[in-house]
Subunit: 507 residues, 2 copies
């Protein structure tokens, strides 16, 4: 028997996870689809989240010596072609600029004119154009390392798009560094992966597994790709950040050469690493529930909403004054490195008001009416608890404990997500069990399957391809942290294997 | 007789101002040309300047209730065509995306493939695409005003480009607001112009004249364009920010309608306003001298560089320790809303080191050797003074006075720029005098002419066009602040005029 519970988001996660995702993006007011195929409009509530991500990541990058710069949006086609694997990887999804003006066509409408002699590709990533600058900047070992980051928009013409997760245009940062030795470049590759892992776990409250991609899943042109992988609530994996060791591939194609301390002419060793607005999709799918978004306090667009309860016009002034004072007192507080962001919503729209803020995922909602004012107490609800479950604290206590309450919400969200991942991560050694694990039990809910399987893999691309073909399951990463009994037969072919990898369905 | 003085920038401003500009951009390490026609690479030293501008402006916008959002890079051609004047204004300089992938052509090289059914224009500005969202967001007067800003890159395919001043791609912010009444929209237009004026004067130390553009100089599709204009050292004008009252033009073409309090269906009134990386060009041309850039402290990429003087290896440790401690003490200080940014340069490259920092325009250079350490004193030079003119202060005094010294530099730069503008702004009523004022006296230096002329104008587009054609002089603005004897004959045609406007050559 189904218990009938009304939820703010229809359908629920269990009923239809992909559709739940589309609905929550809309209901939370984070973003909307645009009239341009596959592009999104990031609305103020969503953009504030991104601004917080940018601020925190930017500080973390700079603390490692990285400096920001900006490179052209357009990449000449000949640049992209310099690195064979790279162009192969991006050719199918490039927006190409071919003309530089518009003029009246035969039917009176405007048509492209002024054909470019060389087409320009809207950057899908900037290794080649940044490499060109690095080649100019570097001539001696004294010029190294070069540690650069760029905050930018990029375009990858995706055929099937989903807001935040896969869009034709998205916002991201791309770090690019050049080093004198392979060891130093590899160390930087690992260091930046560590920055992503720290950021995603401590701010977004999303637990991640750090590891290395298999050759077939590497960035086009990379020697090694490291990644962080997270489990969403439908038990699928989301790649939340990647860091690439590019060896000398791009240094050779771009001509990044330097004279070493021993007067040898050498090619530099480069890295690149990126994280994008996709993280917002990951945050939604990790924490959202059937009533909407839940924002981890340390990254939330705002922390607290004050909802004045005004039943008579005569109460209005005194309630609003009290609300204003409480807002001011809260805004003095610093939490997670920034001042508390407080919203006041005095719209007279009944119960819809509270529900709007629930859907938007604000960590704390406070209702303030004449009775609360008389008692000088604050009646509040946590977004990570049941909506009915409200608490009351004397105002001074609320102000004193607000950081602690936000920390509790942050920790609770992380713990929940970690529990989900633990509950759905298993070591599978048997192929039949592996197949069952990834086969949806209920044909009406094809989305729901087992989760992450830590299974042995012989290292062959064939086993990997076969598994992908058969079950739509890929190797997400070879985790840095070893599992139990690493040595044994490959779960696909039975040949010997000395390691366990994470198999999962993925976004 | 010429006195021979060696300068770090060749040529000097007087010798060849345009070439001086190109050389200073290079020597200051702000930016470099890119292999993509008309696009620039903003290097870390230049990007740090932009980051400071973004941070300050962003705070100022938010203080007026504006929120940030993000809209697609691509605009469908049909959107641009909705507003006739608008598309007319931008059609000649649009980068057009016509294909969405690359494939092998007949000769084996890659060629554009996957033709789009409708070409996409890379945004030159976003009124039409943002208008489309506003139309969805607004249905009642309760939804107004909508106050949005976007930080983004835009592309205008310029035929003649100059780094920062006129580039095919540039970075900017574009604010877009929608209001219930014309008055409110006009008030917002003026308010944001005021924000720009405050920012440019108080942070960039560039004095500006606020005014209104003539109809022929308006933004394509605007009802009224307000602007701030600054005088560069070659006495030409630079438009440093514009704020547009768009009337109902874009609301009508995008369908931004709302139901008023009296239940009438009405079109909203919109505004847009923007400032860009062009401001960096303005900063260079206002403050730079023949030895390089001079950065106003309140916006500078860094405030102080510490230059250790190490003559013997045995001194190294003690000098570097002292330098490190001084840097830490300085970094504790807050100036202009942010912590002091301190660079330490211990490269052993002789006199070139000091000159590099002079060219880069850092406000304060400090040399620290064993003698300074013994005396616990700081030997420093201000970038706005003569390089030889160094001062010495006891370390505690230096730390105490650093903010005051930076303020003095900031004020000095503004005062210098204001003096230059005053010295070269005149009221001219006679046409012959007007012609002489704008005619270079020395044919070998065609750049040098009179400056700004506050002259009467009858209001006719013919007089404006004739002056532009004959002297390359345009009306920069109709200043808000009235001049002396506003009523009298037009300087071009002699017909009656009731106002003075700023005539100038312009970037």
């Amino acid at each position: 028997m189904n218990k009938i519970v009304q939820t703010a988001i229809t359908p629920t996660r269990e009923e239809d996870y992909p559709e739940w995702y589309q609905q929550i993006v809309k209901a939370s007011d984070l973003a909307e689809k645009s009239p341009v195929r596959g592009c999104m409009v990031i609305k103020p509530w969503g953009y504030a989240l991104w601004e917080n991500m940018v601020r925190v990541l930017d500080e973390m990058f700079k603390a490692t010596g990285v400096k920001n710069a900006y490179f052209p949006l357009f990449i000449p086609l000949s640049f992209l072609e310099k690195e064979a694997e790279h162009v192969e990887g991006f050719a199918k999804e490039c927006a190409v600029v071919t003309h530089h003006r518009l003029e009246k066509g035969a039917d009176g409408g405007l048509v492209p004119a002024g054909k470019l002699t060389e087409p320009l590709v809207v950057r899908p990533t900037s290794e080649t154009i940044i490499g060109d600058s690095f080649a100019k900047w570097v001539s001696s070992y004294r010029d190294l390392p070069v540690l650069i980051n760029q905050w930018a928009n990029v375009v990858r013409w995706e055929m099937r798009t989903r807001t935040f997760l896969r869009t034709s245009e998205f916002l991201w940062q791309e770090g690019h560094t050049a080093h004198a030795t392979a060891e130093e470049a590899m160390e930087r590759t690992r260091q930046m992966l560590g920055v992503y892992a720290t950021f995603v776990e401590e701010y977004l409250a999303i637990p991640v597994i750090q590891g290395e991609k298999t050759p077939s899943e590497r960035f086009p042109g990379a020697v090694d790709t490291l990644c962080i992988e997270a489990m969403m609530q439908d038990r699928k994996a989301l790649q939340a950040g990647t860091s690439h060791f590019l060896g000398q591939n791009f240094a050779k194609s771009s001509g990044i050469r330097f004279q070493s301390a021993t007067k040898q002419e050498e090619y530099a060793w480069t890295t690149s690493w990126g994280a994008s607005t996709r993280l917002i999709g990951g945050l939604i799918m990790t924490h959202g529930d059937d009533d909407g978004l839940i924002m981890p306090p340390r990254i939330a667009s705002a922390h607290v909403v004050l909802l004045p309860i005004i039943r008579k016009a005569s109460e209005r002034q005194s309630v609003m004054e009290y609300v204003g004072q409480l807002a001011d007192a809260l805004r003095e507080k610093v939490y997670g490195g920034r001042r508390l962001v407080v919203e006041i919503d005095d719209r007279d729209i009944g119960g819809a008001r509270g529900w709007e803020w629930i859907k938007k995922g604000i960590p704390i909602r406070v209702e303030i009416g004449p009775r609360d004012i008389a008692a000088d107490s604050v009646f509040f609800a946590r977004r990570d608890g049941a909506h009915q479950e409200k608490q009351s604290l004397k105002r001074p206590d609320f102000l004193e404990k607000i950081s602690e309450i936000l920390d509790q919400i942050q920790a609770n969200l992380f713990a929940r997500a970690l529990r989900l991942r633990k509950d759905h991560t298993v070591c599978i050694d048997d192929q039949d069990e592996f197949n069952r694990f990834f086969t949806p039990q209920n044909p009406e809910k094809p989305e729901i399957h087992g989760g992450f399987s830590l299974s042995r893999w012989c290292g062959s691309a064939e086993c990997e391809a076969e598994t992908k073909e058969r079950l739509m399951v890929t190797i997400r990463c070879i985790p840095f942290e070893k599992g139990p009994n690493e040595v044994g037969p490959c779960v696909c072919c039975g040949r010997p294997s000395d390691r366990r990898v994470i198999f999962a369905k993925a976004y």
